[in-house]
């Protein structure tokens, strides 16, 4: 039995959690009331809430088209991340000449912001003929270094004897990765799925650069376009924000247990 009561900690955590949720609550409240955000004093509870701003947005923009585009790009990114990062993570658990330098290169590349490499990325994508395409939008996020290290940490926690036994039986490396190791590292897969999905879902700058056709725009681009066309509709704008946020929130809430486990696996040894 603990010597100290738990309630002060729970109270502090509850207050911190409530503070974190206030912006989400405010966006949701404004989407239901259309209240001007500069109103003073602000009303904490929604007055006369309704969902008609969502109806306005639904009919004002091709929401389904944007949603479809975002889903296609996110699915490509998620699949590519799981496959490519698993292979890269597995390679980094093996011994090979230049392994230290490779890891150092990866870590140093993490410090380069994407904005710095956006011009060469654009030129490469253009040379490949992938401008204004789903694959082109997904390409820069197809493999991310953070997720490679998540897989690497998870793979290192698997007993080496298991992999050695498979090797002795003549199992090829790709089958070791996809048939033996991956089924044992579901939290790492969930972490990869969630992180790559959210990064892809929220990606704005890269799609803005390479998408030229309005029919190929994703939800963040649609949001920016909506904001530029319709200026004086606070409620509709916030309703659109909620519609963009909800899919990511659902994915995160559904897989948060695996997500937390995946992020913390490898944090402790033994």
């Amino acid at each position: 039995m603990s010597r100290y009561p738990h309630w002060p900690i729970h109270l502090a955590l509850s207050i911190a959690s409530a503070a974190m949720l206030v912006p989400f609550y405010w966006v949701l409240k404004t989407s239901l009331t259309g209240e001007n955000i500069f109103t003073f004093p602000p009303s904490l509870l929604p007055e006369s809430p309704h969902i008609f701003y969502y109806v306005d947005v639904w009919y004002a923009i091709p929401f389904l088209r944007y949603l479809f585009n975002s889903i296609i790009v996110s699915v490509i990114v998620v699949v590519a991340n799981v496959v490519l990062n698993a292979m890269a993570g597995y390679a980094l658990t093996r011994d090979f000449p230049g392994k230290g330098a490779t890891i150092l290169l990866f870590l140093s590349c993490m410090m380069i912001p994407f904005q710095v490499t956006i011009i060469p990325a654009y030129l490469i994508t253009s040379e490949m003929g992938l401008l204004n395409s789903y694959v082109g939008m997904a390409l820069p996020l197809a493999s991310t270094i953070v997720c490679i290290f998540v897989f690497k940490a998870a793979f290192e926690a698997i007993p080496k004897s298991l992999i050695d036994a498979a090797r002795i039986d003549g199992v090829p490396d790709w089958m070791i990765v996809f048939r033996i190791i991956l089924p044992l590292t579901k939290p790492a897969i969930a972490t990869n799925v969630i992180l790559s999905f959210i990064w892809s879902w929220n990606s704005f700058l890269w799609p803005l650069v390479i998408v030229r056709d309005a029919q190929m725009q994703t939800l963040p681009l649609g949001l920016a376009r909506f904001l530029s066309v319709v200026e004086d509709t606070t409620g509709a704008l916030y309703a659109f924000c909620v519609m963009v946020l909800v899919p990511g929130l659902i994915i995160f809430l559904l897989a948060q247990k695996e997500f937390i486990t995946g992020l913390t696996s490898g944090a402790t040894k033994g």
Partner: protein, 123 residues
């Protein structure tokens, strides 16, 4: 079938069912019929009042039709494809009513207005 019993299937399956039910509801109620009544300042039905229907979007408002009330003061618009509209009524000598804002959950939703358009009696 055990693999189907998880929170992902329940969540997305529930969402799919809700979407299906909503679309069935829309199909059954999207004939685009608006019914209402125009009454005088004293509450008596007004025959021959002109009712104007105006579409309202996030960007523009544009007239979409007009009709006359019958002997019971009732009016009907059919085949509209709007989700946000205004109704106005007027009659020479009986006054003006509205605009009454009507917001619908989907385009072409059938609606019976419970509040009559009440002419203000001004000439």
């Amino acid at each position: 079938m055990g693999w189907l019993k998880n929170r992902f299937v329940y969540t997305f399956g529930g969402i799919a069912l809700a979407i299906l039910a909503w679309n069935v509801w829309v199909v059954l109620n999207d004939d685009g019929i608006i019914r209402g009544e125009v009454v005088s300042a004293s509450g008596a039905p007004v025959e021959g009042a002109t009712v104007k229907l105006t579409e309202r979007t996030l960007l523009v408002a544009r007239p979409r039709g007009e009709t006359l009330t019958d002997a019971d003061g009732r009016f009907t618009f059919t085949g509209h494809d709007l989700h946000h509209l205004f109704l106005e009524a007027s009659k020479e000598g009986a006054g003006h009513a509205g605009p009454l804002e009507v917001r619908l959950y989907f385009k072409g939703e059938n609606v019976n207005l419970h509040t009559p358009l009440r002419l203000d009696g001004t000439t």
